[in-house]
């Protein structure tokens, strides 16, 4: 019964992937085809913000280096506007100082390096993020009830 409830909660969750390379988005789309949660895709930070206005999104997975608005800027904006969204970075860009800053500001839940592994790594991280989100929202609900 408990598992069932959890599954149901997972199914209601939506994950938004952001990358300037459409091939990356397509490979992610087919990669996450069998996952129970909703997957959404955006080619840029701007498009991602547009989607966030229409759809309820719980997890965001973004590339770091993108033209115009990079991943960190996007995460920072999201943290201000939608503080409940859990952020994950998917990047081949491993500059420590930038990452450290982002992690310390609490914008990033996990970091997934490129190239990634779907099974075991990427999917597991996304599920963990959803669980993290669920626990947090449950706690908030209990707190509000109290």
């Amino acid at each position: 019964m408990k598992w069932r409830q959890k599954t149901l909660t997972v199914e209601k969750r939506a994950v938004l992937f952001v990358d300037d390379d459409e091939i990356v988005l397509r490979s992610l789309e087919r990669g996450f085809l069998d996952e129970p949660y909703i997957t959404l895709f955006a080619k840029s930070g701007k498009e991602a913000l547009e989607i966030l206005q229409r759809e309820e999104v719980h997890i965001i997975v973004t590339d770091m280096r993108m033209p115009e608005m990079d991943g960190l800027d996007l995460l920072e904006t999201i943290r201000k506007m939608y503080p409940h969204i859990v952020g994950i970075v998917l990047s081949g860009y491993t500059e420590m100082a930038t990452l450290q800053k982002a992690v310390n500001q609490g914008e990033i839940f996990r970091f997934i390096p490129k190239p990634w592994k779907l099974e075991g790594d990427f999917k597991k991280v996304v599920r963990e993020a959803i669980e993290h989100y669920n626990i947090k929202s449950e706690r908030d609900t209990v707190r509000q009830q109290n």
Partner: protein, 608 residues
Amino acid sequence: MRISQRLILGFLAVAMWVAVVGHISLYQLNQIAEPLSSDIPESVESISKTSYLDSLAQFIRYYDEVLTQSARNYAFTQDKKWEQRYKDVEPKLHRAIKEAIDKGEEKDREFFSNVNKANHALVEMEYKSIELVNNGQTDQAVKILESSKYWDQKRIYEQGLGDYVRTGGTKYDEALSSSAEAVNLATKQAQNLLKTSTWLVLIFGVVALILAVGAGLLISRSIYVPILKLKAAAAETGKGKLDTQIEIRSNDEVGQLAASFKKMLNDLKKTTTSIDNLNREIIDRKKVEESVRLAYEELEKSNKELKEMQSQLVQSEKLASIGQLAAGVAHEMNTPVGFVASNFETLENYMKKIKELLQMYGELLGEIEASEKTKLSDKANTISKSQNDMKIDFILKDLPELFNDSREGIDRVTSIVQNLRDFSRIDQSGNPDKYNINDGIKATLIVAQNEIKYDADVKTELSDVPLIFCNAGQINQVLLNILINAAQAIKSQERDNKGTITIKTYVTDDDVVCEISDDGPGIEPDKLPKIFDPFFTTKPVGKGTGLGLSVSYDIIVIKHNGKLIADSSVDEGTKFTIKLPLSKRKAKNEMEAENTNSGKESRIVCGR
């Protein structure tokens, strides 16, 4: 009192004593001299005067006789020689009488005046007689000469002379006797004086001697004793005892000398102290010099080490470039490798599903042979449901795209590897070869793309350029350096829109030229001359080695005989111009020279 004063005083005392003695002696001498100077000369003079007058009187008488006789003889003989004789003697007589009047005493003068008058009268008459004789009146002449008038005058004449002789005789005696008296007196006085003077001289001499000796002793004592002290003090000082005390308090030259000596001692002490200080300083300075020498050696050592380190740094700059390159390339490959790997996993998943589905179809085929209708339709429903669950429609539609995407990913990786190889020419041993700068730019751009593409668009205006002979890997390293600097400069502006990097190539008579310009912040005029200096960097510590452009300069200017020029203006951008010389022959010559020199690869010349 000063020594000079003392000496003067001593000599004055002696001199005064001598003066007193002298004065007394002079007085005594005067006693003798008085009769000698007044009485005796007086009487002597009166004697000589009298005797002179006497002789004059003799002459007067003699001349008169000559005149009388000559006049008479002329009157009687008419011999002209007598007239001549008369005229010769007459002036002499006249002069003698005149002389007697002048020299004689008052009484004598009266006598001689009478004689003179008589003479005049006689001479007048005698000249008259001579005139008469000359006129032939001899008788008349004789008459005059024998006239009573003539003889009267003759008597007056004689009487005058006789009067003189009588008075003159007594005077002569008087003079003689008074002279004798004076001489006597003088002799007596002289004798007395001699006696007293002898004693006086004796006494005074002794006293003067005592005075002189006393004064001498006193003065010399006052000079000699302090000088002895000074001498002793000087000797002590000479031994180095500068604290020697001198107890001389007199006010004279010796005192002054002592004071000067004391002052000199003080100065000497000061000087000695300062000499000591100087010595110490010299020792200190020597120490300092020694330490400077050591420091210099240290410095030379450091310099040597630094040079070694610099070559190491140049090497590490190379490595850093390669590292940067590797990082860029790695990132560039991460994405395609990422999605290809992802697709590959998905493909496995797809295949699993398809296999499962095919198995189901197989089972269905088996059951069709001995089938019951209901069972078949059940099976078909199951398969259909599985197909839906497996999203087979999507998979079938997606499969070609999956292959396309993966192929593109593999192509991208292949291209990167190819360009990386082109860029660094890892398949060659760094030897110079024919090089097309346009190909070099393309290869470098692909490698550097990842660093550039988010901050700047790259525009290329590449014209056909001849091949040049150079080390492609090195030239590409320079291109990469300049491109990445441009991208980083644009990035540092944190601007809203992307910047632009323009790459132009063209050929001139002598060179192949490549211009790389950006619209970044530009370089400040005071920093522009330093950009090719080793270790000069404007990037934060740890971000740049400060060797990129220095190494670039080395590669273009030193190794390839080319030119590397930077133009910049603040807020407008920076342009780097690379000029690589065309001439092949010279390059070959230099390369041959290089090869004969050493096997090192350091100096490789391109073109010109």
